[in-house]
């Protein structure tokens, strides 16, 4: 961990302005990912702006019947919120499937969206990683590398890392929107679909935020009803990142939505695949995972995703 300076800020716009002003600054919220990465010298901010005093820790109802979630609402609080449990159960289920009770108590809504990949080559500073050290190569794509956990779609020749969040997968299937404040004090709304970027040639660029821009809220549209499920397939029963996770909303008429975690650099969903839901899991995955480029070690994720969804559809 490098030495860094630290400040607390009074309001969101001031936080964003300060972050844009100080080169190498980062926001600190729950710190469950950032502090670990700093200890390993994967993140080396020179200045931390502590946003924990900004409020932004409430879930309120919007005019159109949805929910507006403050960025500092903890994962524990969000998953336990009565309105979320009643109207957005896929979100509660996804959050509860992630991390541990201790981590969920500290982890925040905005921070969860911004957590970094768990690729082992990203985590070892002796290894090449285009995300950590642009231009150094992808450690996971060399002969003999370990890639079982990594991405199968949306990846590039420069990076096959996945986004590790469960919460984000549920928010994607719920059509959430990220609300921010920019360094010049403006509010911006970014659909979650557009929030995370695919790696392409620049895997170090992971989201649509501009320098200094601070997430203030995540909004959910009015409830869509249906049966909502989240299946996180993993080797051990708890405290493991998904091999594949499936968020499903299914309406009584058979239509619905599907998003996947553990397969791509972002929560993975498409309208074409959603439209195939009445035709079953195979039809959905034929669209959703079309063009997948797995490694030998993680090709099973294609089969796993289809079988997981099939089981969820068969369950009712």
């Amino acid at each position: 961990m490098r030495a860094f300076s630290y400040e607390k800020v009074a309001d969101p716009a001031a936080a964003a302005a300060r972050a844009a002003e100080v080169e190498g600054a980062k926001f600190l919220a729950g710190g469950t990912n950032l502090l670990d990465l700093m200890k390993l010298e994967i993140e080396t901010p020179v200045h931390l702006i502590d946003v924990n005093g900004l409020g932004l820790d409430e879930v309120t109802e919007t005019e159109d019947g949805g929910l507006r979630i403050g960025t500092l609402v903890t994962n524990t609080a969000l998953s336990a919120d009565e309105r979320v449990r009643r109207d957005y159960p896929v979100l509660t289920r996804a959050i509860a499937a992630g991390a541990s009770g201790q981590l969920r108590n500290k982890a925040t809504t905005g921070g969860n969206l911004l957590q970094r990949t768990r690729c082992p080559y990203f985590y070892d500073t002796a290894m090449p990683c285009n995300k950590r050290e642009p231009g150094s190569g992808c450690g996971a794509l060399t002969e003999g590398a370990f890639s079982r956990q990594l991405g199968v779609i949306g990846t590039s020749d420069n990076c096959i890392a996945t986004h590790p969040s469960d919460m984000a997968v549920a928010m994607r299937v719920l059509d959430a929107t990220v609300e921010t404040v920019t360094p010049n004090g403006m509010t911006r709304r970014i659909p979650l679909e557009e929030f995370h970027l695919l790696p392409g040639d620049t895997p170090q660029e992971e989201n649509a935020l501009m320098p200094g821009e601070l997430i203030t809220h995540v909004t959910l549209p009015a409830p869509v009803g249906g049966t909502q499920k989240y299946h996180k397939a993993r080797d051990r029963a708890s405290y493991a990142f998904a091999l594949v996770s499936v968020a499903l909303i299914r309406q009584p008429d058979g239509s619905g939505r599907v998003a996947l975690g553990g397969v791509a650099p972002k929560p993975w969903r498409s309208d074409e695949a959603d439209a195939e839901l009445p035709n079953g899991a195979r039809a959905v995955m034929a669209h959703l995972l079309e063009g997948a480029r797995p490694t030998e070690e993680n090709a099973f994720k294609i089969t796993l995703a289809e079988r997981a969804l099939a089981a969820m559809l068969a369950e009712e």
Binding site: M1, R2, A3, K39, L40, E41, R118, P120, Y121, Y123, D124, T125, A126, M127, T142, E143, G144, A145, F146, R148, Q149, H231, A233, R234, D235, R236, A237, S238, Y239, A240, F241, L243, V244, A281, F300, T303, L304, R307, A308, A310, A311, M312, A314, E315
Partner: protein, 726 residues
């Protein structure tokens, strides 16, 4: 004291404290966070500085240059010592990788520098500033399968009895399969950690976390080329070891070098990401097992070939360890090949050999039972033996394997199991039942202790360690029993080189050996007391010495009485095979869609001689069972074969079982007595608990799904192709 003949009727046969379920006496210290673990011993010496290690970023080769200038000038830094600054350190007898010194890199994350600073954070920050240039070695071959093929049929078998080829040709049923177990990491909760004071470069004091105090001292002496008598080692509390802490590691070495350099004590803990590639691990194995049996299930031949990896000169993981002894086959052929690879040092991990070997052999037995259309329990029963199959003149000291099978099967409800693979389902879960036998040797090592009696209170001192196993408690129970004192009148002091050398903890020899050593010392003390009172063979009970008209409270004896002795083991034990036995029964659920595997219940029956304390012994067995669930279903050091390093080197990547993975566990102790083992008629149980369990899980998965996986860990990707349509 020399143990020269089997123990007859003795005081332990009427014991009231030994054998009584007793919660561990160090429990309150641990749950209140006040047990002094190595890294937290702020009070033992003043002026401690913080050390932080730097680890090599290549698997093998040489360092061509190191630039530590920036680190030396960083805030708070007192010194930086790089591996190029000193001559290669000596390598102790049981190790093969060098811990520090010189330009050669033998494995990934080998220690190459230490930074000493005022604070942990400063040391860590400065460590990252050190620039290293390497000349990597030639690309190495990490293909253990290919090596097995090359080695198979070469060299001399370690066991060769009868005509195994003939048995295979004439058998009613044959199994001939390949099995794989991955490399496994100990990953105990407490990392390697030490505080070392070698300020004057003369006498060295080491506060550390190590299973073997005397080995640790000897290894330090070898590394630094100094007299072991100049080294004092303390390790009273240890947060898990599993064999990883049998050895001196770089934490103590770097702390010593740092301390000598700056003239102050230095503390250093190994960062978790170094634990996998810097420390030792259990080698992967490739195994070919051939079984031949008649229609009655009697084994006519067992042919077990195995390979594991090691640095040159090492022992690898001998997966054939149990095969010469476990089943009464007419013919046997056993051979282990060690394949040299520039990987981190392969060495002992809980039940070295048997743990990996039984993961394969007990699946092969399940396959044989299926081929014979026989109950797997019955197959094992018909192949029981009371003599060493490799040497029929040698009997087992005690062997109650069949009773383990029968009692375990009864408790589990084996008769009601699913008998058709893939044939039992609850909702979306396929239900399966599996079992396996367990075998683990029961060695003993010489073990010494001192006992001191004063004012009715007894102090026991031995360099024996408690690695979370309950040594404090069973040693206290033993001493209390011998002197007729209540347990709370005994104070047990462990893990200090100032005390008599003990067996230490390892190889499941610790409990049996160290309690025997304490018994030896107590016998001496009893004789002294009898002498002082002028009586012969008095009884010690309820805090009193009683003989004829003499009836004296121990509290009233004059002065302090002290006795020291070491239990030595007579040659007669070599006439027997000493081992422990078990049977494991497991129920699993396998998700029909995803292939996710969840263990639903586990039953173990164990035959390990006298159970000294059913609570701590049970904890040992369920701990082993838990570790084996990890080995069965998730633990794998993922080898990057292009780089020669284990890539998943943290606790997020290396998945040990968590609470949610572990269901109801039942442990049945037969509570047998083995008078050939020790005066307490006890044997170890801590490693028996991991043996066979993983195979029982794998067999249950087969029973649930009809998919036979012979490559551990048994993960869902290996099942997906064979699961039914959802």
């Amino acid at each position: 004291m020399q143990f020269n003949e089997p123990a007859g009727q003795n005081l332990f046969d009427n014991a009231t404290i030994v054998g009584r379920p007793t919660h561990r006496t160090d429990g309150p210290l641990k749950v209140t966070g006040t047990a002094p673990y190595a890294y937290e011993r702020h009070d033992v010496v003043e002026g401690q500085l913080y050390g932080y290690p730097v680890a090599a970023g290549i698997s093998h080769g040489r360092i061509t240059s190191m630039d530590a200038e920036a680190a030396r000038n960083a805030p708070g830094v007192h010194a930086v010592v790089t591996t190029l600054d000193i001559e290669p350190l000596g390598i102790w007898d049981y190790n093969v990788a060098r811990l520090f010194g010189g330009d050669e890199i033998q494995h990934y994350h080998q220690a190459i520098a230490v930074v000493v600073a005022d604070s942990f954070e400063e040391a860590r920050a400065a460590a990252s500033l050190i620039e290293v240039e390497y000349a990597p070695g030639d690309p190495a071959d990490y293909d253990l399968d290919a090596a097995f093929e090359r080695f198979e049929g070469t060299g001399e078998p370690s066991t060769m009895v009868g005509n195994v080829e003939g048995a295979l040709e004439n058998a009613a049923a044959v199994v001939d399969e390949m099995y794989h177990t991955p490399s496994e990491s100990h990953q105990m909760m407490e990392p390697f950690a030490s505080i070392v004071d070698w300020s004057d470069g003369e006498d060295m004091t080491v506060w550390t976390s190590n299973q073997m105090i005397e080995w640790n001292r000897q290894a330090l002496a070898t590394n630094f080329g100094i007299d072991p008598d100049r080294i004092r080692v303390e390790s009273p509390y240890i947060g898990g070891g599993f064999g990883g802490k049998l050895w001196l590691r770089c934490d103590a070495v770097l702390a010593a070098i740092g301390s000598r350099e700056v003239g102050r004590p230095v503390r250093l803990a190994m960062p978790r990401p170094m634990m996998m590639n810097n420390a030792t691990h259990r080698s992967a194995t490739v195994q070919r097992i051939r079984l031949a049996a008649g229609e009655d299930g009697k084994l006519t031949g067992i042919w077990h070939d195995a390979a594991s990896h090691s640095l040159p000169g090492g022992r690898g993981e001998n997966a054939t360890a149990q095969t010469p002894y476990f089943y009464g086959a007419e013919s046997l052929r056993v051979q282990h090949h060690i394949v040299e690879m520039p990987l981190p040092e392969a060495s002992d991990m809980r039940a070295p050999g048997e743990a990996s070997g039984l993961m394969a052999l007990e699946v092969a037995m399940d396959e044989l039972a299926e081929a014979l259309d026989m109950d797997p329990v019955q197959l094992r029963i018909v192949n029981d033996t009371q003599v060493n199959p490799s040497n029929p003149d040698q009997a087992f000291s005690e062997r109650h394997f069949v009773e383990c099978l029968e009692r375990g099967a009864e408790a589990f409800g084996w008769a009601d199991r699913n008998t058709t693979p893939g044939g039992m389902r609850e909702g979306q879960w396929l239900i399966g039942h599996g079992m396996a036998g367990a075998y683990r040797g029961a060695p003993t090592l010489p073990s010494g202790a001192t006992v001191r009696l004063s004012g009715g209170r007894l102090i026991v001192e031995t360099d024996m360690t408690d690695i979370g196993t309950g040594s404090y408690t069973i040693i206290g129970q033993t001493a209390a029993e011998c002197l007729g004192l209540p347990l709370d009148a005994v104070e047990v002091r462990l893990g200090n080189s100032a005390y008599p050398v003990s067996s230490g903890s390892g190889g499941q020899f610790g409990a049996a050996s160290s309690t025997a050593g304490v018994y030896a010392a107590c016998v001496g003390l009893r004789q002294q007391i009898a002498g002082q009172l002028g009586v012969e063979d008095p009884e010690f009970r309820e805090g009193r010495v009683v003989s004829g008209d003499t009836d004296v409270a121990l509290a009233d004896l004059e002065g302090e009485l002290e006795a020291t002795d070491t239990m030595q083991w007579g040659d007669f034990k070599q006439d027997y095979v000493l081992a422990t036995f078990g049977a494991h029964f497991v129920e699993v659920g396998v998700h029909v869609g995803t292939g996710e595997i969840r263990v639903r219940r586990m039953v173990a029956a164990a035959d390990a001689g006298r159970i000294l304390n059913p609570i701590t012994a049970r904890s040992q067995v369920i701990g082993g069972m838990t570790m084996a669930v990890g080995a069965a279903l998730s633990e794998e050091m993922a080898l990057d074969t292009g780089r020669g390093m284990f890539a998943n080197h943290d606790l997020a990547g290396y998945e040990v079982a968590v609470h949610a993975d572990i269901p109801e566990q039942e442990v049945i102790f037969l509570d047998t007595l083995d008078g050939i083992s020790t005066p307490l008629k006890a044997k170890g149980v801590g490693e028996l608990g991991i043996c066979g369990v993983a195979a029982a899980v794998a067999n249950a998965v087969y029973n649930a799904t009809g998919v036979r996986v012979r490559e551990y860990p048994v993960t869902l990707d290996k099942l997906l192709g064979g699961l039914p349509e959802v």
